[in-house]
């Protein structure tokens, strides 16, 4: 019979299926709406180009063009975490999907994990195209003497960054519209302190903040995983430039630690917010 029981999958397999299931619309969305691809790749290049020409006009060292390209590529992930990952649970509630996710017998982390995986896929398309344009149009030369370190830095940046996105997602889920304004608030300041367009070591320059204050600001900014991720990747791709904030292995260890911390915090905040939402009835209340 069509509805005969089947062998129930293990808890891990159930959650993995949920991850892939939830990732699917994001991956498919790019194919179904090719215009997204244009807006996601071409428009951000304009900002990148502006910084490239700015540095060229100032006769900045050649690696700065490369820093901008990497910063531009990583912007995709940061915007994805802020606008699609963190705010997604809120939007899922608005469109009526959250209830269905909440009554499903899976971990809420699997839902968020699926969103993260799908988001990473679409962002990688944009990031790769930004780097390709950088190499082809602006003549940036990348070298990779330590590919394992680069892969490690990238992977743990992604885990920590999307872990942070998961944590925000649970907060946004209950705080509603006010929380969405947080995304606006965090966009530009993080561009500045995380060093999307320049290495954060520059803060230590005596003409900017000085060694001590620059170090403090960099340390605080390092709580946002993209800061160390950007710095680490730049150190890997442009070796010998002496613009790194911390030694690479420390950055890798810090990103590993941030990955664990953010995933744990995400799980705890999600559990807490779900309980609070069930008590106050806000899990299913729209138009907040």
């Amino acid at each position: 019979m069509i509805f005969d029981d089947y062998e129930k999958p293990s808890k891990l397999m159930m959650n993995l299926r949920a991850v892939f299931g939830r990732a699917y619309p994001r991956v498919i969305g790019v194919n179904r709406e090719p215009s997204w691809l244009f807006f996601e790749t071409f428009l951000p290049l304009l900002t990148v180009a502006a910084f490239v020409y700015f540095y060229k006009a100032l006769d900045a060292p050649a690696q700065y063009i490369g820093y901008v390209i990497i910063g531009g590529a990583m912007t995709a992930y940061w915007m994805n975490v802020l606008w699609h990952m963190a705010a997604q649970m809120f939007w899922e509630k608005e469109i009526g999907n959250l209830e269905l996710y909440m009554i499903a017998p899976i971990s809420r982390m699997a839902i968020l994990g699926g969103m993260a995986l799908g988001g990473m896929f679409t962002c990688t398309v944009r990031a790769v195209s930004t780097i390709l344009v950088g190499v082809l149009l602006f003549g940036v030369t990348l070298s990779l003497p330590n590919p394992l370190m680069f892969i490690g830095i990238f992977i743990f940046t992604m885990i920590a960054l999307y872990g942070m996105g998961m944590m925000f997602a649970s907060l946004y889920m209950l705080w509603g519209r006010q929380a969405v304004h947080m995304s606006s608030l965090m966009t530009e300041p993080i561009y500045l302190i995380s060093g999307f367009w320049f290495p954060i070591k520059a803060f230590q320059n005596p003409e900017i903040l000085g060694a001590s204050k620059g170090l403090w600001l960099g340390t605080i900014a390092s709580l946002i995983p993209i800061t160390l991720g950007l710095d680490g990747m730049r150190q890997c791709l442009f070796p010998g430039t002496n613009d790194g904030f911390l030694p690479l292995w420390i950055e890798l260890l810090a990103l590993m630690a941030l990955s664990v911390i953010f995933l744990i915090l995400a799980k705890l905040s999600l559990d807490y917010m779900e309980k609070l939402g069930k008590q106050e009835g806000r899990l299913t209340m729209r138009w907040q």
């Binding site: 509805f3 959650n15 892939f20 299931g21 699917y24 909440m102 009554i103 017998p105």
Partner: protein, 341 residues
């Protein structure tokens, strides 16, 4: 709580004891006080496995709140609610494996995905192997007459077709208990009938399958439900089979009166012996339909006498058997249906 073998069907599908749920509404202005709304008040209901149970009530009666508590989306303020033997608060995860929910007017899923893709996505939340999921989806698409739309994007579907897809989403996981919150809301006659027939057959197919249905449509509840609870202002006013509920007012007389050119309905108010009356206007035909529940036949004469006073003329008078709608009107004091047709 776990039981096995033959005992499983002995566990009530739903057991609600002294259930209360309040909501605190936020004050818009700082100086005004927050309001406490009692959505459910001392609700007691037991629904057995294999039952098709209906919850009838006007908007804001507490039906959806009750369903959300039973679906583990909301916690009770006090009292106890168990689903298939599991506590909704402490054992929510065990419940979620066995239930599903479909709401009327639901706009779930992703508009960019096709019907089949959306259904597959939701099957993955229940860990269903893709091969089995696709078989079930294809089967249900056929049963629901949605096969021709399987590769259409969800955002291109009409309300009726989207609701059929929602019904498939709820049933494809083969839940032991399904919550249907106004599943035929806004659907045309054919689509509603198809869904009602599907629900009836689904319950019959396997012992123990249970449905908790909320509806505004009395005829739907009468046709589908083994038992019905009438709920108003968060309280259960009556709970029994439709036949037994009708017996509550069986000794009363129910008459339908059609009148033309009515000017003043107040002529029918305050007539001794009238327990309740409802009316609906057919504006295009210029006819007003009145339905009276009377203590006895003697009052019919007083009603007929009141017709000229209302400035109208009698088109027809008919004595009828009580319906679930009449029971509802008697208990709640007002009708669920729209007064103007």
């Amino acid at each position: 709580m776990k039981q096995s073998g033959g005992d499983i069907l002995a566990i009530p599908a739903i057991e609600v004891k002294n259930l209360n749920r309040t909501f605190k509404t936020k004050a818009v202005k700082r100086k005004s006080k927050a309001e406490i709304v009692k959505a459910l008040q001392d609700v007691n209901i037991t629904i057995h496995q294999g039952e098709l149970f209906g919850l009838l009530g006007p908007n804001g009666a507490g039906k959806t709140t009750l369903i959300k508590i039973l679906c583990t989306l909301l916690l009770p303020s006090s009292g106890q609610a168990k689903v298939l033997g599991y506590d909704v608060d402490k054992e929510a995860h065990e419940i979620r494996h066995k239930i599903n929910m479909v709401s009327g007017g639901e706009t779930s899923g992703y508009g960019l995905l096709t019907v089949r893709e959306n259904l597959w996505l939701f099957s993955q939340l229940y860990g269903m192997p893709t091969k089995i999921a696709k078989k079930r989806i294809d089967y249900l698409l056929k049963v629901m007459g949605l096969e021709h739309k399987k590769d259409s994007k969800v955002r291109t579907l009409s309300t009726g077709l989207r609701q059929k897809a929602n019904i498939i989403r709820g049933f494809m996981t083969n839940p032991s208990l399904i919550f249907l919150d106004e599943p035929t809301l806004g659907l045309d006659v054919n689509a509603s009938r198809l869904i009602r027939d599907f629900i009836k057959n689904w319950v019959k197919e396997k012992p123990g399958r249970t449905v908790l249905l909320t509806t505004h449509y009395m005829m739907e509840a009468d046709e589908l439900c083994d038992r019905v609870a009438i709920i108003n202002d968060g309280k259960v006013l009556a709970c029994d089979t439709p036949a037994n509920l009708k017996k509550l007012i069986n000794q009363d007389t129910t008459i339908k009166l059609e009148i033309r050119q009515v000017q003043d309905l107040s002529a029918f108010e305050g007539i001794t012996g009238v327990r309740s009356f409802t009316h609906s206007h057919n504006i295009t035909a210029g006819i007003t339909k009145l339905k009276f529940i009377l203590d006895d036949d003697a009052t019919i004469a007083d009603i007929v006498t009141a017709v000229p006073k209302s400035g109208s003329k009698i088109v027809s008078v008919e004595k009828t058997e009580p319906t679930l709608e009449d029971v509802f009107v008697t208990l709640v004091g007002r009708s669920l249906v729209n007064n103007d047709i």
